[in-house]
Subunit: 332 residues, 2 copies
DNA sequence: TTGAAAGCGCTAACAA
DNA sequence: TTGTTAGCGCTTTCAA
C-alpha cells in the first residue's frame, strides 16, 4: 500500500530526519517552532495517522483495555460498557469485550488472552466462585492493572469498584418499613456472591433493629423461571406476603410475571420494590415500580477513572463505592 | 520486562536462529521434525505467546474487527455482537465495538478510527440517513471489507446482511388476517429507514390482496413515550382498533404500557402481535405475546461468515438474508 | 536544534 | 534444513 502515509514519507518530503518529524508531531521542546509548523501542516494535509502497532511495539504499551463480563445481553453490563467506552475513548483507549457466560474456564481463557494481547488494563466482573483469582493476579504482576467491578473477589489485594451494596439494600428495607407492611417476601440472587451477602446482611439488619418489622421470608435464585415459580407458590398461600422485594431486575421481571399470571393488583394486593440497574424495567410496568437505582453507567465512569490512575502511576489497592438512591413509583 | 518470552529468547536457549524458531512454531515444511519438536516443547514450557503487535506490524494484518452499532443497550445489537464475538474468536479475531448513538458525526469518527487502527474488517449498522457512505467506501478501497447489517445503505455497491424484511412483515400480516380482525393499528419505526419501508410495503401488500382485510391505520415512531401516547389515544376512541401490530420490541413495550394503563385485556379487548429480536420481551408479558422472530444472533453468524470470506479472497458484493418465523403466544 | 542508529518482536526473501 | 538479513513504523538514546 504505497498510499499509506508514514513518518518516513513525511520526513523525506520535508528533507528532515524521521526522528525530527516524530518529535515535531509530539511537540517536543527541542524542536524549532518553524520545523514543528512545517511538519504539522504536511501531516495534516496528508492525513497522516500513526500506525498504532508500531507505537505499541516500540513502547510496549497498548491503548486497549480488556473488559470481562458474564454477559452482554444485560442492561447493567451494557450501561457499564457504555460508560467505559465513552470515557475511555476520550482518554484515547479502546475496548475489547470478552464474555464468560459465568464459565470459569472461559474466564481463564479470556484472562490469558488479555495477557497475550498486552492490554493496557483489564476490567473484570468475575464468575461466581472466584476460581481464577491467581490468574488475575498474574496480570497485575506483569504490570497490567486489573479493576474488578460489581462482582469482585473477596480479597483486599485488588482494586474494586462496587455499589455501596449495604446502602442500596438498607434504603429498600427502610422504604418497606415506612409502609407498615406485614409480611415481606425477599428474593436475593445466589448466596455465594459477595454482593448478595452484603445486601442480605444490610437488609436483615434493618428488619432486626426494628421491633415491629414485618415478617421476612428469604429465597435465593436469579433465574427467571425459578423466580416465577417461587413467587407464584408463595402468593397462592393463604398467609401470603403483602410485599415483594427483588434484589435484581431479573428477579423483578420474574416477580411481575408471576403477579400478572395470578392477576393480583399492585400495590393493593401485593406491593413491589426492587433494586434496579436502570430505569428501564421499573418503568415498563403499570404502576411503575418503586426502585433503588444502582447505575451501571456511574460505576463504569468510576471504574475507568480508577483505571486511568492505575495505568499512570503505581497506586495502592483501592476499594471504591458508588452510591444509590430511591426512585418512587406507585408500587409500594 | 525480562520475564516476557520472545522468539529470540527461545532461539538463544536452543542455539538456533530466530527464523528457525519462528518457522518451527508455524509448522513450516522446511524444518526438521526433531527441531520442531524441541522448539514446540520449550515454547510450551515457557508459555510463549507471540507478540500480536509485532505480527501485525510485519504482516500489516490485524486480527481485530470493528463493529459499529447505534447502541449497545439493546437486545438486538447485543445478540448480534454475541454472535460475532463467539464466532469471531473461533476464527482468531477480536472485536472492537463502537457506538454511534445514531449521530452521523460520531459515526464518521468511528469509521476514521477503524481505518487508523487498520482493522481487518468492519461491521456496520448505519445511522438513518446514510450520510457517511463515501467514508465507508474509502475503507473498502484500502482493502478493509465492510459488511453492513440490519440498517444498510440503499446501494448495491456493498455487502449487506439483513433479515428478509418482507417475510417478517408478511408473516405477521397473514397471522392477523387469519384471525378475522376488524381494525388494525400498526406502528412502524421511522419511515426513512429502508427496513421500515420494506416491512411496511410487504405488510400493506397482504392487506391489499385480501378483499375482506381489516381496516388498517399506520403510524410511525420508535420512541417509547410517543408510542404510548399514540396508542392510548387510539384505544380511547369509540371506534378503537382490536389489534395492534408492533414493528419493534420498543414499540411493543410502549404498546403494552398503554394497554396496561388503560387496563385492557389481551387478547379479548385488544390483540397484539410484534416483530421481535429475541424472545425476551414477548415472554415478559401475560399472556405471552405472539411474535415474528428476527434473531440478531443468526444475523451475526451470517455476517461473520461473510466477513471471513471477504477477508480471505476478493468476492463480488453480496446481499444476504436471514429468515424469520412466527412464534405463537396467546396475544392474538 | 537536529540526525544517526539501535531496537521493539516478528516475517520472509535470499543465501548457504 | 537452517541462518542471515532487511524491513514493518515508530521511539528514544546518544552524538553532532
Amino acid at each position: 500500500m504505497s498510499d499509506v502515509i508514514t513518518l518516513k514519507k513525511i520526513s523525506q518530503l520535508l528533507n528532515i530526519s524521521i526522528s525530527t518529524a516524530s518529535r515535531a508531531l509530539k511537540d517536543h521542546p527541542d524542536i524549532a517552532d518553524t520545523t514543528k509548523q512545517k511538519v504539522r501542516e504536511l501531516a495534516e494535509m496528508l492525513e497522516y495517522e500513526p500506525n498504532p502497532f508500531a507505537i505499541q511495539l516500540s513502547t510496549s504499551h497498548s491503548n486497549i483495555f480488556g473488559l470481562i463480563v458474564p454477559e452482554v445481553s444485560n442492561l447493567f453490563y451494557t450501561s457499564f460498557i457504555d460508560a467505559v467506552e465513552n470515557e475511555g475513548r476520550k482518554a484515547g483507549y479502546m475496548l475489547i469485550i470478552l464474555k464468560t457466560d459465568d464459565d470459569p474456564e472461559i474466564e481463564a481463557n479470556h484472562i490469558k488472552y488479555c495477557k497475550k494481547q498486552r492490554v493496557a488494563g483489564l476490567f473484570a466482573c468475575i464468575t461466581p466462585n472466584a476460581s481464577n483469582f491467581d490468574l488475575f493476579q498474574s496480570l497485575g504482576k506483569s504490570g497490567i492493572p486489573v479493576i474488578f467491578f460489581d462482582r469482585v473477589p473477596d480479597s483486599s489485594n485488588c482494586n474494586t469498584v462496587c455499589f455501596a451494596d449495604e446502602t442500596a439494600a438498607t434504603i429498600a428495607a427502610e422504604a418497606i418499613l415506612k409502609k407498615n407492611k406485614k409480611k415481606v417476601l425477599a428474593i436475593f440472587a445466589e448466596p455465594s456472591l459477595s454482593i448478595t451477602q452484603k445486601r442480605l446482611k444490610a437488609f436483615r439488619k434493618v428488619f432486626q433493629q426494628n421491633t415491629n418489622a414485618p415478617k421476612l421470608d428469604i429465597y435465593h435464585t436469579n433465574h427467571y423461571e425459578n423466580i416465577k415459580e417461587i413467587i407464584k407458590q408463595q402468593l397462592e398461600n393463604k398467609d401470603r406476603p403483602d410485599t415483594i422485594f427483588c434484589m435484581t431486575d431479573v428477579i423483578l421481571t420474574g416477580a411481575m410475571k408471576a403477579i400478572h399470571e395470578l392477576k393480583l393488583r399492585v400495590p393493593d394486593e401485593v406491593a413491589v420494590i426492587t433494586i434496579s440497574n436502570s430505569d428501564f424495567f421499573p418503568k415498563l410496568y403499570t404502576p411503575e415500580i418503586t426502585y433503588v437505582e444502582t447505575s451501571g453507567y456511574k460505576l463504569g465512569v468510576l471504574a475507568l477513572s480508577t483505571m486511568i490512575t492505575c495505568v499512570k502511576e503505581d497506586v495502592p489497592y483501592q476499594e471504591l463505592y458508588v452510591d444509590s438512591y430511591l426512585v418512587e413509583g406507585q408500587s409500594l
